[in-house]
């Protein structure tokens, strides 16, 4: 991943990275009103007096959002506080209807978490501290390129619940930053708190980056890098900013504390025109909402109801299914694919076979179609039926692949397809004998050599029968019947 240019600089300078991850919570409604928080509706159709900030409207906290935020905080190893306080972050912007964002400031929901992002050569874990997890609301969207000389505002997103996950400046390379993001994303997906899609904007990342000479313990001046729309953009932007900062340091210049914007087209970062650093947000406690008080019992209930965490699932795959590290990497990476695999494994009974199919045929089919497992027509119950048919010698392995392809296309059931396509294995002796007789008649030379005791000809004849039956004959039985003929 790391480019040669970065590798060379990294001998002299160390990169220090902290990440701020904004995640949209998967609630049906917005954080402080009953509007739908669904993505993709026509502009300004999911708005009400509260999220439009009409005079006299007041926020009412969505309890479901608190539950999801708490779940995420616990999964990120944080301490969830019994009392947290909403605050107003004041600034003027057209897509911020109230002129302030409701967020949490000096009393966040949760603090002091930690995630493991990998293992060092000596086997010790590489960890990244999670400074805080707090709740806040999203702003609307400004659309600058739709109408000439005008900016359009879509407020559907205004008030959608978010959590902000702030890490400690614990990452020392682009690789570590990327690993942190993937681990956090995986945890949140497993916790079912968010769609965690950077494309749909439900996961957004800002990075704080600084550089310091190797051996230094004091942190260098950091910049905030924004406007990255994928994990790989984050990685490329971090490299670009690191190279820029090291260049300044090499020339004896100072790094200015400022906001840098990533430009994916040029692969460069440039200073943001708006002076983000000079903003005074005039935070103060939000008087429209009482302090958020969570009982210890309630927090414990969320903890005990927590969905399975990725690390636990990996362990289970090793101990219960006997899967290899590599197989687990593939099968447990994505919660949806993993759930799919477990469905097949449970219903079919053989996790190895299920795993091979999911990693092989299923993944290939998804890639070919460019779809997610959620949109795949073949449900785990159907696939396990097909695998059962293979196990019970009702269809051959190669026939099963053909059937699967048709299932993926049509969504039909495997039995129907096998029958319609004549792919069921024929093990009825009368039918098989008839094919054998015909094959003997059609290939008299081979038949004669076989009868005279040339054993290796048996395989050739079986092949003729398989061909004649279009693969549907049970090869085992054909062998047996041929052997009977020679009396051996």
């Amino acid at each position: 991943m790391t480019s040669p240019a970065v590798a060379a600089i990294a001998e002299r300078y160390e990169m220090v990275v902290g990440l701020e991850v904004h995640v949209q919570l998967k609630t049906r409604t917005k954080a402080f009103c009953n509007c739908s928080s669904a993505f993709g509706a026509p502009p300004n159709t999911q708005v009400c007096p509260v999220c439009l900030a009409l005079p006299g409207a007041l926020p009412v906290l969505n309890v479901r959002a608190v539950e999801l935020a708490t779940r995420a905080a616990i999964a990120l190893g944080c301490t969830v506080h019994g009392t947290s306080i909403f605050a107003r972050k004041n600034y003027f912007y057209p897509d911020l209807p109230k002129g302030y964002q409701i967020t949490q400031f000096d009393r966040p929901l949760a603090t002091d978490g930690c995630v493991v992002i990998g293992t060092r050569a000596d086997g010790s874990p590489i960890t990244v501290g999670v400074t805080r997890v707090h709740m806040e609301e999203d702003a609307g969207k400004s659309i600058h390129d739709r109408y000439t000389a005008h900016t359009a505002i879509d407020l559907n997103r205004a008030g959608v619940p978010l959590i902000e996950i702030v890490s400690e400046p614990d990452m020392r390379s682009t690789v570590e930053a990327g690993a942190y993001l993937r681990v956090v994303k995986q945890i949140l997906a497993y916790m079912d708190v968010s769609d965690v899609s950077m494309e749909a904007g439900s996961l957004r990342v800002d990075a704080n980056v600084s550089a310091r000479a190797r051996g230094q313990t004091k942190l260098g001046t950091k910049t905030e890098v924004k406007n990255m729309n994928s994990f790989s953009a984050v990685e490329r932007a971090l490299d670009a900013e690191f190279i820029r900062q090291c260049g300044l340091l090499d020339r004896g210049e100072k790094v200015l504390q400022q906001t840098m914007l990533w430009d994916g087209a040029t692969g460069q970062v440039r200073p943001s025109r708006s002076k983000e650093g000079s903003h005074d947000y005039r935070y103060f406690p939000e008087p429209d909402l009482p302090p958020l008080v969570l009982g210890a019992e309630w927090i414990e209930k969320v903890r005990s109801d927590l969905p399975e965490r990725p690390a636990h699932r990996r362990q289970r795959y090793a101990s219960d299914y006997g899967l290899s590290e590599k197989e687990i990497d593939v099968l447990a990476a994505d919660i949806a694919l993993s759930d799919y695999f477990e469905g097949v494994a449970r219903q079919h009974g053989d996790a190895k076979v299920a795993g091979n199919w999911v990693m092989g045929e299923v993944s290939a089919a998804l890639n070919a179609r460019g779809i997610d497992i959620g949109d795949f027509r073949v449900r785990p119950a159907d696939l396990s039926k097909l695998l059962n048919m293979v196990r019970d010698s009702m269809v051959s392995h190669s026939a099963a692949k053909r059937i699967f392809a048709i299932m993926a296309e049509t969504g039909n059931l495997p039995e129907q397809i096998a029958q319609r396509e004549g792919l069921l294995i024929v093990s009825d002796d009368a039918a098989l004998r008839e094919w054998i007789t015909e094959v003997m008649a059609e290939h008299p030379a081979e038949a004669a050599r076989f009868r005279s005791g040339e054993k290796k000809l048996q395989g050739v004849l079986v092949g003729f029968v398989m061909k004649k039956s279009k693969g549907s004959a049970d090869p085992k039985r054909v062998n047996q019947l041929l052997a009977e003929r020679t009396g051996t």
Binding site: G56, A57, L58, N90, K98, R282, D288
Partner: protein, 486 residues
Amino acid sequence: MTLPGSVEGRAARLATAVCKGAPAEDAIGRSYRRSEEIGAGADGLNIVLWQDEREAQEHARSVAHRIDEGESKLPLAGVPVAIKDNIATTTLPTTCGSRILEGYVSPFEATAVARLRAAGAVVVGKTNCDEFAMGSSTEHSAYGPTRNPIDPARVPGGSSGGSAAAVAAGIVPIALGSETGGSVRQPASFCGVVGIKPTYGRVSRYGLVAFASSLDQIGVFGRTVDDAALALEVIAGRDTLDSTSADRPVHRYRYEAGTTVKGLVIGVPKEYFPASLDPGIRELCERALEILRGLGATTREVSLPHTDLAIPTYYIIAPAEASSNLARFDGVRYGLRMTGDGLQGMYEATRSSGFGAEVTRRILLGTYVLSAGYYDAYYRKAQEVRSLIAQDFLDVFAAGVDVLFTPTTPTTAFPLGAKSDPYEMYLSDIFTATANLAGVPAMSLPIGMVEGLPVGGQFIAPHFGESRMLGAAYALEGVLATQAAP
């Protein structure tokens, strides 16, 4: 509940009559005729900003229809009510006395207004107020000052001056106002009517255009204690649309004739009777206390030592919250929009032509006290002092005092234009702002006249002690009424 004798207010008598079949339209018509007679419009006392008689009459007929359908116990059936212009109504504009909201009609109704309507009340008009409720004289309205019906050369007080004047002028027996720092009690005192500021959280703020959210509370005006108590009973109670509304039962606020105050311990805080107090006001307060003692109450001098810090504290917290609450008036979604150079220019042009001088002053003040580097010295410090002021009240109530009695204001209504210095104006809320900072309920009722101008006496009760406070007010009002009678 039917109240016998003179204790029952005009609103209750009217509602009973309408429930028994008296035409609701007549009462509404009378309200408008009275309004015309005394010149409540823009060219007169300038009490009512927005009204629509046809719509109101239509509403009156719908109330009559509900009664015909069997809703025989509407406590405010056919009662005309006026609503301060910073409380959202769907039938009339809600402009907060500001240019920035000129012509704005809310698509939703304030919970308090919805509850009044559900009880059978008919909204006859929106009343003038200081712009965004910032002021103590109703001179700071973009639509011109309101004049006091008792003496048109004088202010009605503020910021709910229009609602106080509407009740004083006999246009309505009940009106809604709002308080952030005395904005109901002070005009009630200046206009000679009853005004109640309930406990913070007692009445939903949903639909009240926010000035300073941690202080704002909708209050009621009544011609008599009973009118005000009846209105409060109707609008009080938990509302899920306001997270700061209290989930506590609404006690009985109305009392019957001959209410006793025997055994009641009334605290008289010495800080509210400074040497500079108008002697006429002092005398009327002493007479009121004498009456209460005569009814079996005991009075006791107490101290609320942090009283003098209330105004400076208030003028840090209220503007701070206001600077944030008024950020939404940005010309983007509704209200006034002026063109300017780019986005920043649009903001500047819109807000500088939309807001008046007092509102601008408070936004600047509030922005300043919240700024990085000043927050601890001002806002945080003010919150600490606020706790001390609240603790003063908790201490006296814990020491056995049931209610406090004080003058509502240090002076009677002053002439228009008399207070050009903002700080002078702010001091007119010196006895009222404390209850807002502490969140306790308080009310003003007329206790006499000085040189032809009304004087208000104030009761202050512990949190959610409205019932106790009203009991004392009913008793005092009853005796004062008999004394005034020829």
